[in-house]
């Protein structure tokens, strides 16, 4: 008997060590997420948010590269739900898009996601049903690299930006359908017209108004949904609540920015601190030091900052249309706060950009289109003198003399450039652009694409219909790709909105002229009138979603199903 017990004990010890050893290289974590409603009070009025495990935003999931994760997602709502693991490479039936990857999670049921992590970095997850991300159903994912971090840092904080509305998303969409400029309270007035007449002369002003009038578009249409209804949040906190991250002077802090907003691009800066961008969309990039970066909806940027002074710093995230901001604080002690900058003037979409989109000032050649867009500033305040009341407070990156800074990049003609920023000669204020992004690692699979698919980003703001190639999701056939091929997607933005294009399951290698070091992204923002090329290594069989990540654009038709088939054999469901 005693020998038997001893044997059992020996076995147990052996089992323990076996388990421990085998767990080290490949952890297998099980995580439970319970999706439920929760009463929240963001604006002073009680509203219902959607939460995971009672938390808004949903809890941060910390995983490890190589880990086999099991996620049990339970739906306690009275409507279907789903969770999409944004940016994570996984089998398509684990991707969490109802109607494509799986049927969704019915009320009261639990769906178990299982996949192995083959990547590291900062990602996020969000609901993919009925605009639930707009109601707060999103959270951060951190996947630790198995080889250890490339960069050292003392502290690590999530900075999740979001836009909260007291209005239900279906109500917002309904309003947009009935009056698409419902939320725009920054339109040009009669007085702006007269101001332009005196500042720029009759000819230019009239030409400008006639050109916009002919297109039936509005250059102030920077954001469809604005601060009129949105409160912009950092980690679920309002600017007044002032979410604060602590540091000791001299420490190096990693800030993982995630734009979990439904509709809002942010311009982020921390006055007094340079930010070293080390990751974009979870992928290591060659470090770039900037003063500001624009984060499109669903993008992530990881930055390092090194505050040396014993004072507070404001993390300031302006909505792209300047209708509001999200604010948080970096401080040595809780309760400290720094000055909150004033909102800069709202930008205007320039006619040059729309000219590119509408074929007014370039030849029909593809090449011409790039040239026209690459040189044009996306947010041109230069053409409208009245916005420059306070030049000192203006966005230096959007000032007229940025044009020569841009043209210094003209040698990259034909690649995705950005305009929003480049170094400003006078102030040295440097704004990150896509042109700055260079993958830290050479892509082993880099080669010339096998074929090209051109997608025009299309829509009618006036009717609030959004589409690819003029067809809504419900009207279009899926896009079919062959497993193993490399496809170049050319996005031609014919609209005057920015569209953050998200491909599920596969990477988009953004062609910014860096060849095998092109940045690898899950969301590529395409600016008004711009043409952007991305190369997609088609390495994930199955059915995938592809869409503009602005939730109301996605919902109204700017969405496609992509089917990746094995050559000569159709993919079977569940294969």
């Amino acid at each position: 008997m005693q020998t038997l017990n001893a044997l059992i004990r020996q076995c147990r010890i052996a089992a323990f060590w076996f388990a421990l050893l085998s767990a080290l290289p490949a952890r297998a974590g099980t995580y439970d997420l319970v999706i439920d409603q929760k009463a929240v009070n963001v604006t002073g009025r009680e509203r219902t948010a959607l939460v995971a495990n009672g938390s808004l935003p949903a809890p941060t999931l910390r995983w490890r590269e190589g880990e086999e994760v099991t996620l049990r997602v339970t739906n306690r709502l009275d409507e279907p739900t789903s969770i999409h693991w944004h940016g994570i490479v996984l089998p398509y039936d684990m991707d969490g898009v109802p109607g494509i990857s799986f049927p969704g999670i019915p009320p009261g049921e639990t769906f178990t996601y299982r996949f192995k992590l083959r990547q590291s970095g900062t990602y996020w997850y969000h609901g993919h049903s009925a605009m639930q991300e707009q109601l707060g159903l999103m959270g951060a994912i951190i996947v630790e690299p198995v080889k250890g971090d490339t960069h050292t840092y003392d502290r690590d904080y999530m900075v999740i930006l979001s836009d909260w509305s007291d209005e239900k998303p279906h109500r917002v969409l309904s309003k947009l359908k009935k009056q698409s400029d419902y939320y725009n309270f920054q339109k040009r007035t009669v007085f702006d017209f007269f101001r332009d007449l005196s500042d720029k002369g009759g000819k230019e002003t009239l030409a400008d108004r006639l050109a916009w009038g002919e297109m039936r578009m509005d250059p102030t249409d920077i954001a469809d949904v604005t601060g009129y209804t949105y409160k912009f949040l950092v980690n679920g906190q309002t600017s007044e609540a002032n979410w604060t991250a602590l540091f000791k002077p001299g420490e190096r802090i990693r800030l993982r920015f995630i734009n979990g907003a439904a509709m809002t691009h942010f311009d982020v800066r921390i006055p007094g601190l340079k930010m070293r961008v080390i990751q974009a969309d979870g992928q290591d990039v060659e470090p770039v030091d900037v003063d500001e970066f624009r984060i499109a909806v669903a993008e992530t940027y990881d930055v390092l900052v090194e505050p040396r002074e014993t004072r507070a710093y404001t993390i300031f995230a302006e909505a792209m249309d300047r209708s509001g901001y999200a604010r948080a604080t970096l401080a040595p002690r809780r309760g400290m706060r720094a000055e909150v900058p004033a909102l800069r003037p709202r930008p205007l979409v320039s006619l040059a950009e729309m000219g590119a989109a509408h074929g007014m000032n370039h030849g029909s050649s593809d090449h011409g289109a790039h040239a026209a867009t690459d040189h044009s500033p996306a947010t041109e305040t230069g053409t409208s003198g009245h916005e420059g009341h306070d030049m000192a407070g203006m966005d230096p990156a959007a000032m007229p003399d940025m044009n020569h800074a841009i043209s210094s990049h003209a040698s990259h003609e034909g690649h995705a450039m950005a305009d929003h920023g480049q170094e400003h000669a006078d102030t040295g204020h440097r704004v990150l652009s896509y042109a700055d992004l260079k993958s830290a690692e050479k892509h082993a699979d880099w080669r010339e694409p096998d074929r090209e698919i051109t997608l025009r980003l299309t829509g009618t703001m006036n009717r609030y219909i959004w589409s690819f190639n003029g067809k809504k999701y419900s009207e279009a056939e899926p896009i079919r790709l062959k497993y193993g091929e490399r496809v170049r997607f050319t996005y031609i933005n014919e609209t005057m909105m920015n569209h953050p294009v998200h491909l599920h399951g596969m990477w988009q290698d953004l062609d910014n002229g860096k060849g095998p070091f092109n940045p690898r992204k899950h969301v590529v923002n395409v600016k008004p009138g711009e043409t952007v090329h991305v190369d997609v290594p088609v390495d994930a069989p199955g059915e995938w979603a592809f869409h503009c990540h602005l939730v109301y654009h996605m919902e109204t038709g700017m969405f496609r199903k992509i089917i990746v088939e094995y050559p000569d054999t159709a993919v079977k469901k569940g294969a």
Binding site: A130, S174, K175, K177, K178, Q179, Y182, F185, Q186, K187, R188, T189, V190, F191, L210, G213, E214, R216, T460, N462, R463, I465, K472, Y473, S474, E555, T556, G557, F559
Partner: protein, 237 residues
């Protein structure tokens, strides 16, 4: 005039209309995609007192629709009530099937029932949309049971004084192809109306306004032109 032809038109417009209704709602049901959802809209474009020393009217111009991006069912009603006489000067109701035929344009077909000044039943064909340079445009042709052809053309523009204070100049022209003896209608422009309304959008959906209308009416009996002050509200939901 060939009344039989037009009776024919009316008779046939009813099944067309029923088919259209089925299309509007059928399409919504068949395509469960969220990008083809049915919305409902009702707008009180004008809901106002209009008058001068001699005339006191209550006037309405209400329109609404239900439907998806491409297929809609429209209802429109216009009219006025004359306070001093206690009668409706004009009152009608249109039911239209509307189809999106171009980016900014819908074609509309349906019927109009006029209740005042007399009961008539007309077929309606028209277009409605946003013309270049942001002119809200509506043009319709009415064909009566007796074969009379009438037309209505509306043009409106919005001038932003501030983000909420909006001036809206507006023109409406009603025409008739022929004299219509029994209605006193004279061929040509029967009514010309030009006005300006200054509204304040307390919220987008609700805006009280003031303004004026210049109205010129031409009938077989008389030619009138009047200037009227207006006050009312614009509302939609």
């Amino acid at each position: 005039m060939t009344p039989s032809l037009d009776n024919h038109f009316i008779r046939h417009s009813i099944p067309v209309f029923v088919a259209a209704v089925l299309m509007v709602f059928g399409s919504g049901r068949a395509a469960a995609q969220l990008d083809d959802v049915i919305y409902n809209y009702l707008k009180f474009e004008r809901f106002e007192y209009e008058g001068n020393d001699n005339i006191h009217l209550f006037k309405w111009d209400i329109e609404g629709w239900t439907g998806s991006d491409y297929n809609k069912l429209w209802v429109k009603s216009e009219g006025d009530y004359v306070f001093d006489q206690g009668i409706f000067g004009r009152a009608d109701l249109q039911l239209l099937y509307s189809r999106n035929i171009a980016t900014f344009w819908d074609a509309q077909i349906g019927v109009r029932r006029a209740f005042e000044p007399e009961r008539t039943f007309d077929g309606v064909i028209g277009v409605q949309g946003l013309a270049p340079y942001f002119f809200e445009t509506e043009a319709a042709m009415f064909i009566s049971e007796n074969g009379n052809v009438l037309g209505r053309f509306k043009l409106a523009y919005e001038l932003l004084l501030t983000q909420r204070l909006i001036a809206q100049p507006r023109v409406e022209i009603n025409v008739s192809a022929d004299d219509i003896e029994n209605r006193g209608v004279k061929a040509g422009i029967t009514e010309f109306e030009a006005g300006l309304r200054l509204r304040y959008e307390i919220v987008r959906e609700f805006a009280p306004y003031i303004g004026f209308d210049y109205v010129e009416e031409q009938s077989l009996l008389e030619h009138k032109h009047t200037v009227r002050a207006v006050a009312g509200f614009r509302a939609w939901f």
